[in-house]
C-alpha cells in the first residue's frame, strides 16, 4: 500500500537512544526500512549504528529529508513529540507508546485536523509493508508479501492473524496496528478508505475489541463505500462491563461497546464475522477461493 509506508519513506525515530528505540530501529533496518535519522533532545551529535541523532525533528527533516516519524517516547512527553513532528512537516507519524493521557490526545487530534499529517497509534505495534519496510515492533518472521490488508486494534492478536494467513500461503499488502487507545490517530474508517483505493489489496482482515464505536463506524463505512470483502474478529465477548481490559480503549462504558454489538453491526454491513479466532485465516482463504472461482 503505497500511501502509508513506501519506497520513498525516510524515517526519523524519536526516542532512538532509549533501549526500545534502539532495539526496534535495528529490527526495522534489517527489514529494509530506510531509517535516516533519530531524535532525542540533548543527544544531538551522537549516532546509533551510523544513523545520525539530532536534538530536534526539524533538523532531521532539513538535514536528512525525514518524512515519516516513529515514536518510542515516554508517555509523559509523547504528545509534545507528536506535535513537534506535525509542526516540522512530517507526513506520517506512528506512535508506539502506551499510557498517553486522553486529554493529550484530544489536543493532538485537534492539531492533526488542521495539518497535512496522518497519525497511526498511539499504543500500537506499528505498520509493516512486506518487501518495503516496517515501523514498530511486529515480529519480522510472520509477514509475507501478498494481497490481503490487515487492520487491528491489538498487538499479539494481530500477529496471530497475520501468521495464520502466511501459513496458508496468503500474503499481506500492509498490516496496520491502529492501537488500543480510546482516541487513536487514525481509526478503522481512515484505513479502510486507503485500502479501498489500493489496487494491490483484494481482501481485508479487521480485528477489533470492546469499547467505543470504531467498529460500528467501520460497519457504516463498509456498507456505503467498500467493494472489497472483510473478515472480522472482535475480542472481548467475555469482558466484564466497566473494566479497562489492558488497553485504555478496551472498556464497556454505560453498557455500550460490547463485542456482540460490534459483531452484529459488522454482520449487518455484510462483513464476514468470525467468532473463533483460530479460523480467521480460513475465512480469508474461502473468500479468495471464491474470487478466483468467479474469475473463471
Amino acid at each position: 500500500m503505497a500511501i502509508l509506508l513506501d519506497k520513498n519513506s525516510r524515517v526519523v525515530v524519536q526516542g532512538i537512544t532509549g533501549s526500545e528505540g534502539t532495539f526496534h530501529t535495528r529490527e526495522s533496518v534489517k527489514f529494509g526500512t530506510k531509517v535516516v535519522a533519530g531524535v532525542t533532545p540533548g543527544k544531538g551529535g551522537m549516532d546509533v549504528d551510523g544513523i545520525p541523532v539530532y536534538n530536534r525533528v526539524a533538523d532531521a527533516v532539513e538535514k536528512q529529508g525525514a518524512n515519516v516519524a516513529a515514536l518510542y517516547t515516554p508517555a509523559a512527553f509523547s504528545a509534545d513529540a507528536i506535535i513537534e513532528s506535525i509542526e516540522a512537516g512530517i507526513g506520517l507519524i506512528v506512535c508506539m507508546t502506551e499510557g498517553i493521557p486522553v486529554t493529550d490526545m484530544i489536543k493532538v487530534k485537534q492539531v492533526l485536523k488542521t495539518s497535512k499529517a496522518r497519525m497511526i497509534g498511539c499504543n500500537c505495534p506499528g505498520i509493516t509493508t512486506p518487501g518495503v519496510g516496517k515501523i514498530g515492533f511486529m515480529p519480522s518472521f510472520i509477514h509475507k508479501k501478498g494481497n490481503v490488508g490487515v487492520i487491528s486494534r491489538s498487538g499479539t492478536l494481530t500477529y496471530e492473524a497475520i501468521w495464520q494467513l502466511t501459513n496458508l500461503g496468503i500474503g499481506q499488502t500492509t498490516s496496520i496496528g491502529i492501537g488500543g487507545d480510546p482516541i487513536p490517530g487514525s481509526g478503522f474508517v481512515d484505513m479502510l478508505a486507503l485500502y479501498e483505493k489500493d489496487p494491490d489489496t483484494v481482501a481485508l482482515v479487521m480485528i477489533g475489541e470492546i469499547g467505543g464505536t470504531a467498529e460500528e463506524e467501520a460497519a457504516e463505512f463498509i456498507k456505503a463505500n467498500l467493494t472489497k470483502p472483510v473478515v472480522s474478529f472482535i475480542a472481548g465477548r467475555t469482558a466484564p462491563p466497566g473494566r479497562r481490559m489492558g488497553h485504555a480503549g478496551a472498556i464497556i462504558s454505560g453498557g455500550k461497546g460490547t463485542a456482540d454489538e460490534k459483531f452484529k453491526a459488522l454482520e449487518a454491513a455484510g462483513v464476514i464475522v468470525e467468532k473463533n479466532p483460530a479460523e480467521i485465516g480460513k475465512r480469508v482463504q474461502e473468500i479468495l477461493a471464491k474470487k478466483k472461482g468467479k474469475k473463471k
Binding site: W163, P182, I183, E209, G236, P277
Partner: protein, 389 residues
C-alpha cells in the same frame, strides 16, 4: 481510577462548585460530633465506590446528633450490597455526614469524553431528570438529555453554559444562570487540570432558597493521567478493590479477576481477552484476564503464577504466548523455573507460537513437569477445559 464521594466533593470545593457542608467520619462518635457542629438535620451516607447506596440501606437521615451516631453505627462495617457492587457487596469503612438541603428540583449534570471519530472532545450532559440513572433516562427519554460538546481549540465558553442552562429551564433566571455558569466553568477546569474521565453530579439540586448545590458527586480519573496528578493518585482506596487485583497492581501485573475456574496468562491485551473468549467457547469459565506484557521474564511469569494460584476458584491454567521478539524457548524456561519455584500443583496447558517455538515445546516436554502442550488457539482452550472433566 475511582474515588469516594467525600473526596470528589473536596475537589469540587477547590474548584468553586458548591457542595453541602459536611465531613467524613470513620466512627459513630465522629459522626455524632460532625452532626453536632452542623447543627441541622444531617444525612449519613456510606462511602463506597458504587452507586445505589440508598436502596441498599447505606444512606440515612439523622435529625439529631444521636440519630447520626446510631445511623453511622449501623452503616459503618456493613457489607453494603447494591446493584453495582456484586453479590458480596463492599464493606463500608467511612461515612459522609452532611447537611440536608431543601430540595426544590433535582437536575443531572455530567461530563464524559466523546471518543467518536472526528468528534473527540469533552462533552457536558445535562437533564432535568435528576436523581435517576442517566442510562435509564437515555433509554426511555433521550430527548430529555442536553449535550454540549466542548470544542478543544477553544475550551469551555459562556455560550455553552447558556445552552445547558436554557435547556434546564434555568436560563431566564439571572442568579441561577450565573451560578450554573460558575459550576460548569469549575467542572471543566477540574476535568482538564486533573485528567478526569467522568464527572457526575446527580443530583445537582436547586434548593428552595434559590441555590444550586452538588448533593452527590462522582469523579473518575484517567489512569494514564495519574503520573502527573500525584494528589489524585494518593486518593486511591485499595479497600474498594479486589485484594488479588491490589496485589497484582502493586506487583506490576495487569490482572482482572473474574468468577470462573480456568485461569489464563497471555502476552498482549487483545490476545488475553481472546483467550478468555476461547475458554468460554470451549465450554469453560475464565477465572481472569492477565496480560503478562512484552517482556514475560521468568520473574514476571512467576509473579503471574503466584497471583493466579492465589485465587481458590482456579483449578487449571492456560498459558497462551505468541512469541515475536519474545522467544518461545526463553518463555518455556521462565515457565519451568516459575512452576518449580512455586511448586505448581495445578494442571496446565501451554500453547506457544512464534519465534523458536519448537525449542520451547521441547523444553516443556522434557521438563518433567505436568504440562499439556497445545498448538492451535482453539485446541488449547479445548484441552484446558478437558483437564477439568
Amino acid at each position: 481510577m475511582k474515588i469516594h464521594e467525600y473526596q470528589a466533593k473536596s475537589l469540587l470545593r477547590a474548584y468553586n462548585v458548591p457542595v453541602p457542608n459536611g465531613e467524613v467520619a470513620d466512627t459513630p462518635e465522629k459522626a455524632r460530633d460532625i452532626a453536632k457542629s452542623l447543627n441541622k438535620t444531617s444525612i449519613v451516607k456510606a462511602q463506597i465506590h458504587a452507586g445505589g447506596r440508598g436502596k441498599g440501606g447505606g444512606v440515612k437521615v439523622a435529625k439529631t446528633p444521636e440519630e447520626a451516631y446510631e445511623a453511622a453505627k449501623k452503616i459503618l462495617g456493613m457489607q453494603l450490597i447494591t446493584h453495582q457492587t456484586g453479590p458480596e457487596g463492599i464493606k463500608v469503612q467511612k461515612v459522609l455526614v452532611e447537611e440536608t438541603s431543601n430540595i426544590k428540583k433535582e437536575l443531572y449534570l455530567g461530563m464524559v469524553v466523546d471518543r467518536a471519530r472526528d468528534k473527540e472532545c469533552i462533552v457536558f450532559m445535562a437533564s432535568e431528570a435528576g436523581g435517576m440513572e442517566i442510562e435509564e433516562v437515555a433509554k426511555a427519554t433521550p430527548e430529555k438529555i442536553i449535550k454540549c460538546a466542548v470544542p478543544p481549540a477553544v475550551g469551555f465558553s459562556p455560550f455553552e453554559a447558556r445552552k445547558l442552562a436554557y435547556g434546564l429551564g434555568l436560563g431566564t433566571d439571572k442568579s441561577l444562570s450565573a451560578q450554573f455558569a460558575n459550576i460548569t466553568k469549575g467542572l471543566y477546569e477540574l476535568f482538564v487540570a486533573k485528567d478526569a474521565s467522568l464527572v457526575e453530579i446527580n443530583p445537582l439540586v436547586l434548593t428552595a432558597e434559590g441555590n444550586l448545590i452538588a448533593v452527590d458527586a462522582k469523579i473518575n480519573f484517567d489512569d494514564d493521567g495519574l503520573f502527573r496528578n500525584p494528589d489524585i493518585k494518593q486518593l486511591r482506596d485499595e479497600n474498594e478493590e479486589d485484594p488479588l487485583e491490589v496485589i497484582a497492581k502493586n506487583a506490576g501485573v495487569n490482572y482482572i479477576k473474574l468468577d470462573g475456574n480456568i485461569a489464563c496468562m497471555v502476552n498482549g491485551a487483545g490476545l488475553a481477552m481472546t483467550t478468555m473468549d476461547l475458554i468460554k467457547m470451549a465450554g469453560g469459565e475464565p477465572a481472569n484476564f492477565l496480560d503478562v506484557g512484552g517482556g514475560a521474564s521468568p520473574d514476571q511469569i512467576e509473579k503471574a503464577f503466584r497471583i493466579l494460584t492465589a485465587d481458590p476458584n482456579v483449578k487449571a491454567i492456560l498459558v497462551n504466548i505468541f512469541g515475536g521478539i519474545l522467544r518461545c524457548d526463553r518463555v518455556a524456561n521462565g515457565i519451568i523455573q516459575a512452576a518449580k519455584n512455586i511448586d505448581m500443583k495445578l494442571p496446565m496447558v501451554i500453547r506457544l507460537q512464534g519465534t523458536n517455538v519448537d525449542e520451547g515445546k521441547k523444553l516443556l516436554k522434557e521438563s518433567g513437569l505436568k504440562f499439556t502442550v497445545a498448538d492451535g488457539l482453539y485446541e488449547a482452550a479445548e484441552k484446558v477445559v478437558a483437564l477439568l472433566k
